[in-house]
């Protein structure tokens, strides 16, 4: 038997100033199932809530309607109040007679009161049909997965591990370190990138709670928050990790020379290689596409020479499946392919290089041992031109956004060159200098004043070779005249773009991505490191172009969020989710197409129909994934899948109550 209590709030004078609350309470008395109806000055106050509790006991009420402010404000308040009185919180229904009534119809007192009565009648009709719902709990596996072993991934893993959680880092390359390992110095402090990165890499490798799964990729991600079943493909290294000592003999003797990806084509590497000397794990990998043994079955020098007998050509890819409570995506960025720019030579001129290639040239452990020289003729360049915004802020051929970091690392490059080659001339073509961080503007001033970099505000219209020089034609918009520089070396500050396979990984995990394939955060301001998929967090440049300080900050934030999730053995899930009536579900699968969270699946049901054992498919909802949007319930023609607390019958009751 449904016994409804109606409580009309004055909200001081906010409501009673326009709506005649006594009349509303009076009118509510003869709504169906209403046993008790009262109006009071402040329902949400302590005495107000006491009044509700007392009324529940006295009149044995089992449905509560509170006509007051917006449920977005006080629904939790009244739900808790009712729960304390021993009633299921979902028996509460609110009628918004403040924001939607008294505040917006100040000089239509009669109309506002009539509207308030209607809204209460709708709330009563819905409350009468509300079912008790329990928050369910789902277990949380205390293990985190970090995808991507760059600085962001390493930082997040360290924070999680230090908080006592077990973490797996999955890194596609043979070693962790990511793009930062390629960088020489870091702005604004110019301290050496390797010096601040490698210790963290060593910590990560040594940390008892962290497992490194390098040379591995994500194959499949199933499950939901707290219970992600992730299949990881460990690509065959052809080296027995436990046996290899990392002595490096094999790498010296291997006859095959191939362009080194780490050195961005500026140097060669062998078929059996470690990307860079400080690689972690410092154990080589055989590149099966170029290794003679794998191509023509001959050679095998490395296995012969290996003192520890660690080389094993028979190794195969291994698929490893583990369950994780939380996932942090830190897959980093890639550089924009500037070959679309005919102006800069379509990538044909060897002495036009990217910022990262410059980092390798000037890096002590780089191909030229830190000696800056022109890739074409190895001579030391005198006139160097740096061009900013290559691919950034260019809707025609590049990306529409600003990549945030190029201004700073161009200033750094200029300072490094001027520091290394005293008589060099460095010209930086820029549109706007953007120096948003701490100490950034001062760093830019130093590069200009102290190091004597010449900043030219204007675009470069054309680079073309003349004898062994590169003629850089541009424009100086401050002097409003064309400019021509005979450059020995041109460095392009190319845009930061998402990894080429970023969208595929996003589809595997089930997170959103924007038009540039950067992953979409749940809310740009209020939830920057979370995603719409509960339990999956973002860190670093995969979420958008950013520099190392921001990436590290985001990594720690994502780790904190993940700790919040992993610290509890189980979490409560919102009970407003969908449910399937298996009797009427025909297993047509239309709801599966609609669900943005892949929360619905088809399962096989065996039952007796008219004396026969029959197997048929029906939909089944994973309560962990379902967020309760209800789009599937409209697609279901037979109404077999319904959204608890917003069922068809409940909403129809409100519609019918509207027009009595």
């Amino acid at each position: 038997m449904k016994r409804v209590g109606v409580f009309v709030c004055h909200c001081g004078t906010n409501i009673s100033g326009t709506v005649d609350c006594a009349q509303v309470a009076e009118a509510a008395k003869d709504f169906p199932n209403v046993e008790y109806s009262i109006d009071y000055k402040y329902m949400c106050s302590e005495p107000g809530q006491e009044m509700i509790k007392k009324a529940i006991e006295e009149h044995k009420l089992n449905r509560i309607v509170v006509a007051s402010c917006s449920p977005r404000m006080h629904e939790p308040t009244f739900q808790n109040c009712v729960e304390r009185a021993g009633l299921n919180p979902y028996y509460v229904e609110m009628a918004n007679i403040r924001e939607h009534c008294s505040w917006v119809h100040p000089n239509e007192k009669e109309g506002a009161t009539e509207k308030a009565i209607d809204l209460v009648r709708m709330a009563v009709a819905k409350a009468v049909r509300n079912q008790p719902l329990q928050k369910t709990t789902i277990p949380v596996t205390d293990r985190a997965l970090v995808i991507g072993g760059g600085i962001a991934g390493i930082q997040a893993a360290l924070d999680l591990a230090n908080a006592g959680h077990v973490v797996d880092i999955v890194e596609r390359e043979p070693s962790i370190g990511g793009k930062m390992a390629q960088i020489d110095k870091t702005f604004p402090t110019l301290d050496c990138s390797a010096c601040i990165l490698t210790p963290k890499m060593v910590d990560a490798a040594a940390h008892p709670n962290i497992n490194l799964l390098t040379y591995s990729e994500i194959e499949k991600v199933d499950g939901f928050v707290g219970n992600f079943d992730v299949t990881i493909r460990q690509k065959a290294r052809s080296i027995k990790m436990d046996v290899c000592t990392g002595c490096g003999i094999c790498m010296e003797k291997c006859p095959v020379k191939v362009d080194s990806e780490f050195e961005l084509g500026l140097a060669k590497r062998r078929a059996i290689y470690t990307p860079f000397p400080q690689a972690i794990p410092n154990k080589p990998v055989i590149d099966r596409e170029h290794c003679t043994y794998f191509l023509r079955g001959k050679c095998g020098i490395c296995s012969k020479l290996c003192p520890a007998g660690a080389v094993d050509y028979t190794q195969q890819d291994e698929l490893l499946t583990r369950r994780y409570g939380a996932i942090i995506v830190a897959t980093g960025f890639e550089l924009f392919d500037y070959s679309v720019y005919g102006e800069y030579g379509y990538g044909k001129y060897p002495d036009v290089i990217t910022g990262l290639q410059f980092e390798r040239l000037i890096n002590a452990s780089g191909p030229t041992m830190g000696k800056l020289q022109r890739p074409s003729d190895k001579k030391e360049p005198k006139n160097i031109v740096i061009i900013n915004c290559v691919g950034s802020r260019d809707e025609a051929k590049g990306k529409s956004y600003c990549s945030r970091t190029c201004c700073m690392y161009s200033a750094k490059h200029a300072s490094l060159i001027r520091d290394k080659i005293k008589d060099s001339n460095v010209y930086v073509f820029y549109m706007d200098m953007r120096t948003p961080g701490k100490g950034y503007e001062e760093f830019y001033d130093r590069s200009r004043e102290q190091y004597g970099t010449q900043y030219i505000r204007g675009r470069v219209s054309k680079i073309y070779p003349l004898n062994d020089k590169l003629i850089v034609r541009g424009e100086d918009t401050l002097l409003s005249q064309p400019v021509e520089v005979e450059a020995d070396l041109v460095i392009l500050a190319t845009a930061m773009v998402a990894q080429p396979d970023a969208d595929k990984l996003a589809q595997k995990i089930g997170i959103g991505y924007d038009k540039d394939n950067f992953y979409t955060e749940a809310h740009p301001k209020l939830a920057p490191v979370e995603t719409h998929t509960q339990g999956v967090y973002l860190a670093g440049a995969c979420q958008g172009p950013k520099d190392i300080p921001d990436s590290v900050a985001q990594a720690s934030a994502a780790a904190a969020k993940a700790c919040g999730l992993l610290s509890k053995p189980e979490i409560l899930t919102e009970p407003i989710v969908t449910e399937v009536d298996e009797k009427t579900c025909a297993g047509c699968g239309t709801c599966l197409l609609i669900c943005p969270y892949k929360a619905i699946d088809l399962k096989t049901l065996t039952e007796r129909i008219a004396g026969e054992i029959v197997e048929r498919k029906v939909a089944t909802v994973n309560e962990g994934l379902c967020q309760g949007c209800g789009a599937c319930t409209v697609a279901c023609r037979s109404g077999s899948i319904y959204l608890k607390h917003y069922t068809d019958e409940q909403i129809l009751a409100e519609v019918n109550a509207l027009c009595l």
Partner: protein, 160 residues
Amino acid sequence: MSVNEALDQKTPTENLENWQPKILVFACNWCTYAGADLTGLSRLQYPATVRILRVPCSGRVNPQFVIKAFQKGVDAVLVCGCHPGDCHYTTGNYFTRRRFLLMRRLMEYIGMEPERLQASWVSAAEAQKFQQLITEVTEQIRALGPNRKLRDVQWEQWNN
């Protein structure tokens, strides 16, 4: 007893002046409902002809609710939700858009005046737009008068 005669009992056409249109608004919890709250917070006024029904997402609004509402005597229905791309559930309003692009044309096809079923994206920040929308729709419906189409008049027919 024809449909119109029955309805005359319910809303006699003579006193149309103090007839108040009854407009049902389906508002999605994350955007339009919050936008309506903001309209209240900013004390923007609009006619008291509208009843807002909260749904988790505009994707939850079944076109059959709209027909049911007209059967029960509502004069206009407004389906509101987040702008495409803003949906809290990422894709809910894309389905709403397809469903109500078809539904509006179908209702117009059977003779329902197009103003009586409208849809509009109102974000949580567009208090002004919500106020304007409600005022505009109310004027349009006042001009059209009470809705007779799809009305369930069995109750009136049996009453006398």
